[in-house]
């Protein structure tokens, strides 16, 4: 594999329970870039991430650079309400006891925050904790499924600013799934538009033409344009 390529996907096909979810998807991810996978709900974005993680069976080729370490922030992690558990204990479920102090600082919390009960977090705090979870083990690549926009608990740093900072500080490669167009413009180097089969690929400015967007979203695009204006 070429030097700066972290991930190479070729003719990826995923079929789950008889339904074809992804068709003939090919793309590459370079080291240090932010790749956004954009598409409407049900386009197979989450399935793509999980397939990259090795959770789903697939046909085609997924080649990670050898020895690459991957961190993953899933879309929905229900709040931990059944069990009393503090953040430090949550982190140790990953099997690594060190690093907890380091990762909690990375996502903008104080060390003392580790003793906080995980059931008492706000959703914004919880998302940050999940990012911290993904950072345990010092990954090279971060897969992030639908970061919630509009939540910023510190009042200063949004989740995207956090990712941007992490990317620079930790030299992370980030693959991000979203249906939020504004994220693509602000934050990503490259975008793949996905609606079961790939619709477009390239830098945001190159590919996000009105034609492509209406092909991708159909009726929905008006809403997004509107959303983007304010």
């Amino acid at each position: 594999m070429e030097n700066d390529i972290v991930l190479k996907v070729k003719n990826l096909n995923v079929e789950l329970e008889g339904e074809r979810i992804l068709e003939n998807l090919s793309f590459e991810v370079k080291r240090g870039e932010v790749l956004t996978i954009l598409g409407p709900n049900g386009a197979g974005k989450t399935v793509l991430l999980k397939t990259l993680l090795g959770i789903f069976p697939y046909k085609g080729k997924i080649e990670w650079e050898s020895g690459v370490k991957i961190g993953y922030v899933p879309q929905r992690v229900p709040f931990v309400k059944d069990v009393p558990m503090n953040i430090e204990e949550f982190f140790t479920l990953k099997g690594i006891k060190r690093e907890t102090k380091e990762v909690i600082k990375l996502v903008g919390f104080d060390e003392n925050f580790l003793k906080k009960n995980i059931g008492e977090l706000s959703s914004g705090q919880y998302q940050r904790i999940l990012v911290a979870w993904a950072l345990i083990g010092n990954p090279d690549v971060l897969l992030f499924d639908e970061p919630t926009t509009g939540i910023d608990i510190t009042g200063e740093e949004t989740i995207y600013q956090l990712l941007e900072r992490l990317k620079n500080e930790k030299k992370l490669t980030i693959i991000l799934v979203t249906h939020d167009l504004s994220v693509v413009y602000k934050f990503s180097d490259r975008v793949i538009c996905l609606n079961k089969c790939p619709v477009c690929q390239g830098t945001p400015k190159e590919v996000l033409s009105p034609e492509i967007l209406s092909k991708l979203y159909g009726q929905e695009v008006k809403f997004y344009e509107h959303h983007h204006q304010h």
Partner: protein
């Protein structure tokens, strides 16, 4: 204190500890309810054991083990929720039990009898408890992670099926032992109540599972002592003792 009662006390300490430890996991996986039907699944085994004069736990475990494999298999084949699969098997097994047992035997199967525990049974029980304890200790954090988020667990490369199987196996073993002590009707309380009490009082995971173990031990000890004094059936007394601890924990709830 006579030797036999001492053996009973030591044995119930182990039972209480392992039931509490397992219970702390089951509460988190919303699986507490599962123990109840699962314990009924054990009843045909108990019935056979009583008919052939074998150890109750042995019969119970055999049936639970077969049942567990069946549950595990049906679950992955049919995609029905575990609870539903267990409910199907449990009503069938309860029906079998009532067909074959006499009234007295049914009572023993349903509420247990600790007075029969001798040295040999005590040692076996303690060994099994220790084995399950070490198994649970190994899989505890992984099971907890699975219960927090299957996605996170899968991303960590955790084989969900394997751990679910080990988990059901542990439950089978503990339920099989519990059936002998508190009976098939009450064994759910043995695992659920200590964990629930501990949850009320603890602020982190360590306190929670340690508390659950301690409440399990205390409930079994108190119940057995009450049995010694009152000569009422031990099983219900043990469960009432843990219900008492649960009530107390409500008062001090954080």
């Amino acid at each position: 204190m006579e030797i036999q009662f001492l053996i009973i006390l030591i044995t119930v300490i182990f039972i209480g500890a392992i039931a509490g430890y397992l219970g702390s996991l089951m509460l988190s996986r919303k699986m507490t309810i599962v123990v109840d039907p699962l314990s009924h699944l054990a009843l045909p085994g108990v019935a056979l054991a009583l008919i052939f004069g074998k150890d109750i736990s042995l019969g119970a475990f055999l049936f639970l083990f077969i049942g567990t494999i069946l549950i595990w298999f049906l679950e992955s084949k049919t995609k029905l929720p575990t609870e539903t699969v267990i409910a199907i098997l449990f009503s069938a097994s309860l029906a079998i039990t009532f067909l074959f047992l006499s009234e007295h035997e049914i009572e023993e199967a349903l509420i247990g009898d600790i007075s029969k525990i001798g040295f040999f049974e005590g040692v076996i029980t303690i060994l099994i408890c220790s084995g399950v304890f070490f198994l649970l200790q190994k899989i505890y954090s992984k099971l907890l992670l699975i219960s927090v988020s299957e996605d996170l667990a899968k991303a960590e490369g955790i084989n969900l099926k394997k751990y679910q199987f080990l988990y059901l196996l542990s439950i089978s073993a503990v339920v099989a032992l519990g059936v002998k002590f508190v009976g098939g009707l009450l064994v759910a309380g043995l695992t659920a109540l200590p964990a629930a009490a501990s949850k009320n009082l603890s602020k982190n995971l360590k306190e929670y599972y340690l508390g659950s173990i301690i409440f399990g031990i205390l409930s079994c000890l108190l119940g057995s002592l009450l049995f010694k004094v009152t000569h009422l059936p031990a099983g219900p007394l043990i469960i009432l003792a843990s219900a008492l601890f649960f009530l107390i924990s409500l008062i001090f709830k954080r």
